[in-house]
């Protein structure tokens, strides 16, 4: 009986290109979907539309010139890229940045984490159909960008964190503005929770959607909030502390369910924790024992020539575990600079997660992974 019905109805699979141009833009990503009715049968992420040959470009530039290329990897949170790169090169060259520079690095990296998670929050809510939180997120982000403009002159791509320290010290009046921003921002996080996180329609669309189990997350190499929302408690800032994270007191949000809502909410909680870290850094910078102006290690040559060797440094960037593997051959240019981009590994799990999802959930799952194509394609 069922045989006659299925052959009589002639159901088949349809191939849809969730193409490089689509309205829920997270960059130029193409997912080749094979759907049967409403359910996705096969999903194939197709990356490479933003490939710029960065790892090759690194080899043609000196270490300080290559720094500005790293901004353009994960362009939404450029400070983290700079930081990872500088840590790798410092490890190669055996340089240690002074304490004040390290506090400044942590402060800017955490502010950038807030800015990046705000972009995630805004774009995720647009994917879900709520347009207002996007503008709220960018209103807050504008203040962070203004702070960075005061500090280093750039609003999106900073090149602030340099090999050996940072580029410039805080201008007068910056700490007051930063505290002003933090005082303004803390109640806004509660607003976002009321507006979006606990909204029944939003929860309806994201709870129990796109579940990733802990073993799946580990075997596919996820990192960052994507991993922590599924259970494993791994944060590079706690596991292998760099800069001054071992001196700072903060928590890392971990969830068990591993669905879209948990990934989203982990990032919201991370924003709150970044605010705490930023306050502690501001207090430390204001303390008398950190000499103002000591922002660069002594004796770093203008044309850096690290001895031949290899080094790897990884940090907890906004997207996950960002690592730089630097190989030097004693010349002015790096011999090889490989980027372990967390979004590249995060996007691979779509193959497994999207099968069995409805078409309408593809957008939710993709949004909750929070990928930036600059990091995927380099």
């Amino acid at each position: 009986m069922t045989d006659t019905i299925s052959t009589a109805l002639k159901t088949g699979q349809m191939f849809i290109n969730f193409g490089p141009q689509h309205p829920s833009t997270h960059g130029v990503l193409r997912i080749a979907l094979t759907v049967e009715g409403e359910v996705v049968v096969k999903a194939d992420p197709d990356v490479g539309y933003l490939h710029r040959g960065m790892e090759k470009l690194f080899e043609a530039r000196t270490y300080s010139q290559a720094l500005i290329l790293t901004d353009r990897l994960d362009y939404v949170s450029a400070m983290s890229n700079n930081l990872a790169y500088c840590l790798a090169v410092e490890r190669l060259a055996g340089i240690q940045a002074p304490l004040r520079a390290q506090y400044l690095r942590v402060l800017t990296a955490e502010l950038n984490r807030i800015a990046s998670h705000l972009v995630f929050f805004g774009t995720f809510s647009v994917d879900m159909g709520a347009f207002t939180p996007f503008l709220y997120a960018f209103r807050e982000r504008e203040m962070i960008l203004d702070l960075f403009e005061m500090l280093c002159g750039g609003r999106l791509l900073y090149s602030y964190i340099r090999v050996g320290g940072v580029n410039a010290d805080l201008p007068a009046g910056w700490t007051e503005k930063c505290r002003e921003f933090i005082t303004f921002f803390k109640p806004r996080l509660k607003d976002y929770d009321t507006l979006l996180s606990f909204n029944p329609i939003f929860r309806d669309r994201t709870v129990n959607v796109g579940r990733i189990s802990a073993s799946q997350a580990i075997s596919w190499g996820l990192s960052g909030p994507n991993l922590r929302a599924s259970g494993p408690d791994y944060d590079v800032r706690k596991a292998e502390p760099y800069c001054v994270y071992d001196k700072l007191d903060f928590k890392v949000p971990v969830a068990q369910a591993g669905d879209c809502w948990n990934r989203y909410y982990c990032r919201m909680l991370e924003m709150g924790q970044s605010v705490e870290i930023a306050l502690q850094c501001l207090d430390a910078l204001a303390a008398a024992d950190l000499v103002p102006g000591e922002i660069m290690a002594k004796g770093v040559p203008k044309m850096l020539k690290p001895p031949a060797g290899a080094a790897y440094a990884h940090i907890e960037a906004s997207r996950g575990d960002l690592g730089f593997y630097a190989v030097a051959d004693g010349s002015l240019n790096p011999y090889r600079m490989h980027v372990r981009g967390p979004s590249f590994l995060n996007v691979a799990i779509l193959q497994e997660i999207l099968t069995g999802c409805k078409i309408a959930d593809v957008v939710a799952v993709l949004g909750s992974l929070d990928i930036v194509l600059g990091e995927v394609d380099r």
Binding site: I16, F18, H22, P23, S24, E38, S125, V126, D127, M128, G129, A130, F131, T132, L135, Y136, R139, M143, D146, M150, A168, D169, L170, P171, A172, G173, W174, K177, E180, F181, T183, F184, L195, L196, N199, I201, F202, D204, R205, P292, G293, K358, I359, A360, D361, V362, V363
Partner: protein, 423 residues
């Protein structure tokens, strides 16, 4: 590099090179502006302008007075004059009907003009921005006119694989009921185009014809995604008509009539001299009926959170993707016409349309109160759109069949109990 101070400029600086005003930086941080908005002169003057506009409108309404009772004497006077000139009676009736039809046509057009502008301003202020400011001297009020002219002048593109006749007729089938449906709806006391005794049934019946137009639009685009979108839209529209109608049944039961202006008039008077006898104040039944009607109306008009049919994100394109220029404008117009209709119906059914909320506010005419209530409800529609995310398609249908419909049926039962209680 020496540490330099960030000196915020205390005065705006005029750039002589290009003749523009340079603004200092510290004024636009929300933390400074939002701490004490009343300290900003621009905020105070904006609030004063708003208060002035409202009180000016109220004064103008009070001066004009009741419009409804003036229409019939005017009609009789003009009719007698025409009869005395020798014009046959049936011709007078025809001319009067044509005049009423022309005014009826004007209702959704004027509504679109105002509602689109208001929606853009409200959405802008919810999002901390300004909205239209440029076209028209005051806050961009002529923006919709400019957009209408633009849509009028756009090229009309019909896809190759589309059925030309159906493609042409679909917007017509959607828009004509959207205009006709305003006929039995009161705009004030005795201010009605056609005082039908079956007004309620007429409104819901004629409103249902537009669904045919949506299906035709989806089919005529010759594009499988638009077809799917059109069918989905039609399914949504048809299913949400049920709780909408069932929510009105308690009102009809309590009022004992289907005539909309009679229902509105039934709600005159006050309990204890203070609480108006509006249906929304009836215990449980009124509130539940209003909420169900509101939610179902938002779904009927394809507004967020129920706007899957016209959502640009998601894979499936909406049913109006292949329409450009004036045809698209007609779909848009019909959406706002149905929003206005829902607001008018809610004002008439639940808020005692035309009756002032307090006895001492009776100096304003009934049409002003009707307008105020309608605009407040329209504000709710706009407010919902910019606050909520969108339902997923299957959850949308679940919400209707598993929640709204049972609730509206239970509400009818509760209304029966209430009536037995009252009598």
């Amino acid at each position: 590099m020496t540490t330099e101070t960030i000196q915020p400029l205390s005065e705006p600086v005029f750039n002589h090179a290009n003749g523009r005003l340079l603004m200092p930086d510290n004024r636009y941080w929300p933390s400074r502006k939002w701490e004490s908005p009343w300290s900003l002169p621009a905020y105070r003057s904006g609030a004063a302008v708003l208060a002035g506009l409202l009180s000016g409108a109220a004064a103008a309404a009070w001066l004009v007075g009741e419009l409804g009772p003036r229409v019939t004497p005017l009609y009789y006077a003009a009719g007698h004059y025409a009869l005395s000139l020798g014009v046959p009676a049936f011709l007078i009736k025809i001319v009067w009907t044509v005049i009423k039809a022309a005014l009826l046509l004007a209702v959704p057009l004027v509504n679109a003009l105002f509602a689109v502008w208001w929606e853009r301003k409200i959405s802008a202020h919810i999002q901390s921005r300004l909205g239209p400011m440029y076209v028209g001297r005051f806050q961009g009020c002529l923006q919709t006119v400019a957009d209408g002219i633009k849509l009028f002048l756009k090229e009309d593109i019909v896809p190759d694989s589309a059925d030309r006749l159906v493609h042409l007729l679909a917007p017509v089938v959607v828009v004509i009921p959207a205009i006709m449906v305003f006929a039995p709806v009161p705009f004030g006391r005795e201010l009605i185009f056609a005082d039908l005794d079956i007004g309620t049934v007429y409104v819901f019946a004629v409103g249902g014809v537009s669904v045919m137009g949506v299906i035709m639009a989806g089919w005529a685009s010759g594009n499988k995604f638009s077809l799917l979108g059109g069918l989905r839209a039609a399914a949504q529209l048809v299913s949400y008509e049920l709780p909408r109608t069932f929510a009105v049944i308690p009102v009809v039961m309590l009022a004992g009539t289907l005539n909309i202006s009679a229902i509105a008039g039934f709600q005159a008077g006050y309990w204890g001299g203070l609480l108006p006898r509006w249906f929304i104040f009836y215990p449980v039944v009124g509130q539940v009926a209003f909420i169900v009607f509101l939610i179902a109306s938002v779904a009927e008009t394809n507004r967020v959170p129920f706007d899957i049919p016209e959502a640009e994100s998601e894979l499936v394109a909406g049913f109006n993707t292949e329409y450009s220029g004036m045809k698209f404008a007609l779909f848009f117009l019909s959406e706002f016409a149905y929003v206005l209709l829902s607001c008018l119906l809610m004002a008439a059914f639940f808020f005692g349309g035309g009756e002032p909320p307090l006895p001492l506010l009776g100096f304003l005419p009934s049409w002003a109160w009707f307008l105020a209530k309608t605009l407040t409800l329209m504000f709710c529609f706009l407010w919902f759109r910019w606050t909520f995310p969108r339902f997923r398609v299957d959850r949308l249908m679940d919400f209707n069949w598993k929640f709204l419909l049972p609730v509206s049926l239970l509400n009818i039962a509760a209304a029966g109990v209430l009536i037995w209680f009252i009598s």
